[in-house]
């Protein structure tokens, strides 16, 4: 059955068992979550990494259930919880469109909201609608009597969509987690006015919705916690976006009693998140796999790549889990790949090739990803692993190709 799930193109094989449970008992998720101290993590980008960090941190305090494979639909959550002993802690990644029903079932202590931007628009339709649904979800799980405890939300103060959604919650800890893609946040989620951004701040010119002062911040050296204490930390994973993910995870962990220093120390050795960032052999060729599935994700990726003229393989599919419409490729500034040879691959390599042509970036098209990695090696330093950037299902395909080799 696990094999069937992998063939279906979603999840790491942990989903089918969960699906059966859910069909038998629609309240399975609520039953399995009862008696646990749970944290939900949602957002367009960084969910899996943040959940991985959080699970590492919580595991220092006790047994922690987690859907570490990225199976983040209700089926996947049921599978993750049913494979863990009752009680204890849970770090759960939740698909952004399912946050409402999942929060209602799980009754989490903490909800982490990272960011919202365009991704799978064939399924999500509108980013702003999703922000509104998050807000309703958080209002719905807030307890009726004022003295009861609803979830605390750990939210990114730099994303207007997240701020609007989180403002529906009882208690919020604002984290300055950054926002590299702003084009989905120019329309005010509250009043339809325009959000004005400066380098570090934002506000709506019409209704006054504005960036809350973050209680937690993170820089190249340290996290500064709610009490103003600085916790220097290093990570094995690259990039400022991952430092921000760690800051959110550490703040959530602290709300469950794991102090920030202990939490961050547990995140430091995390070097590979379901295959992301790891070096594998694809068809015998060493390749470094990077996941990027939308424009916001790509804004981080450019900084991870080896400098030109190193080649790069870009693998694009458009299955259900990717979003059926790859027109987001036109929102990515692929012009920044100029000076390299790009090997366009995956089921939608033709869309990518046309995009690269108009970006005036040298490229070849090799539909089979394994052959594409071999092709890229011809253009680069053979002693270096080939950088491969793939979106969701093409990434999974490459991981399988690496595992089968």
């Amino acid at each position: 059955m696990g094999r069937a799930s992998r063939l279906a193109g979603r999840g790491g094989g942990g989903v089918i068992g969960g699906r059966v449970t859910l069909l038998v008992d629609p309240d399975a998720l609520a039953h399995l979550a009862r008696g646990r101290r749970s944290v939900l993590v949602s957002g367009t980008n960084g969910k899996t990494t943040t959940t991985r960090f959080l699970a590492a941190a919580l595991a220092t305090a006790g047994p922690t259930a987690t859907n570490s494979g990225g199976a983040n639909l209700p089926f996947g959550l049921v599978a993750a919880l049913s494979s863990a002993p009752p009680g204890g802690l849970a770090a759960l990644e939740v698909d952004e469109a399912y946050l409402g029903p999942v929060a209602a079932a799980v009754q989490p202590e903490v909800v982490c909201l990272l960011n919202l931007s365009r991704d799978q628009l064939d399924r999500i339709n509108e980013v702003r609608l999703l922000a509104g649904r998050w807000r309703q979800a958080l209002e719905a799980v807030a307890p009726a009597p004022a003295d009861a405890r609803g979830p605390t939300v750990v939210a990114n103060a730099d994303d207007p969509m997240v701020v609007w959604a989180a403002s529906g919650a009882d208690r919020v800890v604002w984290v300055g987690a950054g926002l590299s893609w702003r084009l989905d946040a120019t329309g005010c989620p509250r009043c339809e006015g325009r959000i004005q951004f400066t380098d570090t701040d934002w506000s709506c010119g019409d209704c006054g919705l504005a960036r809350p002062e973050p209680q937690v911040t993170v820089d190249e050296v340290a996290l500064t916690d709610q009490a103003g204490r600085r916790h220097p930390f290093t990570l094995s994973l690259p990039g400022q976006c991952n430092r921000s993910n760690a800051a959110v995870a550490a703040t959530a962990a602290s709300l469950l009693g794991v102090d920030e220093a202990q939490a961050l120390a547990a995140m430091e050795p995390v070097a590979d998140v379901t295959g992301r960032y790891g070096v594998v052999r694809v068809g015998g060729v060493p390749a470094r796999l990077l996941l990027s599935k939308n424009p916001a994700g790509w804004m981080e990726i450019f900084d991870f790549l080896r400098p030109p003229p190193s080649p790069v393989v870009v693998a694009i599919n458009a299955r259900i889990a990717d979003g059926r419409d790859p027109s987001w490729l036109w929102d990515v500034p692929f012009e920044r790949l100029a000076g390299r040879q790009v090997v366009a691959t995956g089921e939608r390599c033709r869309d990518l090739a046309v995009r690269l042509r108009y970006a005036e970036v040298d490229h070849v098209m090799v539909e089979d990803p394994v052959a594409a990695v071999a092709e890229a090696r011809r253009f680069g330093d053979a002693s270096q692993p080939v950088d491969v950037v793939a979106n969701y299902t093409s990434f999974q395909g490459l991981r399988r190709a690496a595992a089968d080799a």
Binding site: P101, N125, V127, R128, T186, E192, R324, S327, A353, V354
Partner: protein
């Protein structure tokens, strides 16, 4: 080809509001196709909050969310720069929300009727059923002399054409305007409206050149072999597989969600 003494001005209108589905690519495509033929081009991204220049030669409007659409429509109504430009012979490519805004009326998220710019004789109302999302294949109106068109639609509104608007084409697969007459898009003079994302000009370079020639005259052919591969793949995909996009197992939970 008429001699031009200045750069062709391609204006992408409000990419911060009307750019949700990669439609900003249309402006880039038009600009590159002129550059590659040796013409001088100025590609202008006219962000919201500042006046849209009325002196452009070609305007591109894209898809956007309801609130952003309303904002764009309100700003474009001030001083009517698009109307002025059209009167001076400019061409317009308007996609999805941008297409709706050019018409007489369009719906807000809650179904209210809002005034459009009235540049083309179309009317859009809120669709009652399932949102049309998926591949769209269109046989263009014969007068346009274009091959079959391919795009990806994702819209909540349904559009009907008035007597002064001609359809861009007839729907072979997908929904298109959704007004019941099987039409897709609209053409009025040099204004082209469509529901096709992709972006539409990436998949249909012949439509790009039709718009360009309407402004600058005859153009030499370009090597569009990659775009042709993409077109053929998309057309074949729809021809062989007409299944809807959502699998049954996601539909079970999807049905609980409100859809826009």
């Amino acid at each position: 080809m008429p001699e031009r003494d200045s750069a062709v001005r391609v204006v992408v209108v409000h990419p911060d509001l009307l750019g949700t589905y990669g439609d900003g690519g249309n402006g880039l495509i038009l600009a590159r196709r002129l550059q590659w033929r040796g013409l001088a081009v100025e590609l202008i991204e006219a962000m919201s909050g500042t006046p849209v220049p009325a002196s452009g030669d070609i305007y591109c409007l894209g898809g956007g969310e309801d609130a952003a659409q309303h904002r764009a429509a309100a700003e474009l109504a001030e001083g009517n720069p698009l109307g002025q430009a059209v009167d001076n012979g400019a061409a317009v490519l308007a996609v999805c929300a941008g297409f709706q805004v050019l018409g007489r009326r369009y719906p807000s998220a809650d179904g209210q009727v809002r005034d459009g710019l009235g540049l083309i004789d179309i009317d859009t109302r809120k669709g009652g059923g399932r949102r049309p999302v998926g591949e769209l294949v269109v046989t263009p109106s014969p007068a346009l002399g274009l091959p079959q068109l391919t795009g990806y639609e994702n819209h909540g509104g349904l559009t009907t054409l008035g007597p002064d608007a001609q359809p861009l084409g007839r729907v072979d697969a997908g929904v298109g305007n959704g007004g019941g007459d099987g039409s897709e898009g609209a053409v009025v003079g040099r204004i082209f409206g469509t529901y096709m994302h992709g972006p539409v000009l990436a998949r249909n370079p012949a439509l790009a050149d039709l718009i360009l020639t309407s402004v600058v005259g005859e153009l030499e052919a370009l090597d569009d072999s990659e775009a042709e591969l993409l077109r053929r793949e998309r057309l074949e995909k729809v021809g062989t597989s007409r299944v809807t996009d959502r699998s049954r197992w996601t539909a079970r939970l999807t049905s609980r969600r409100v859809s826009g």
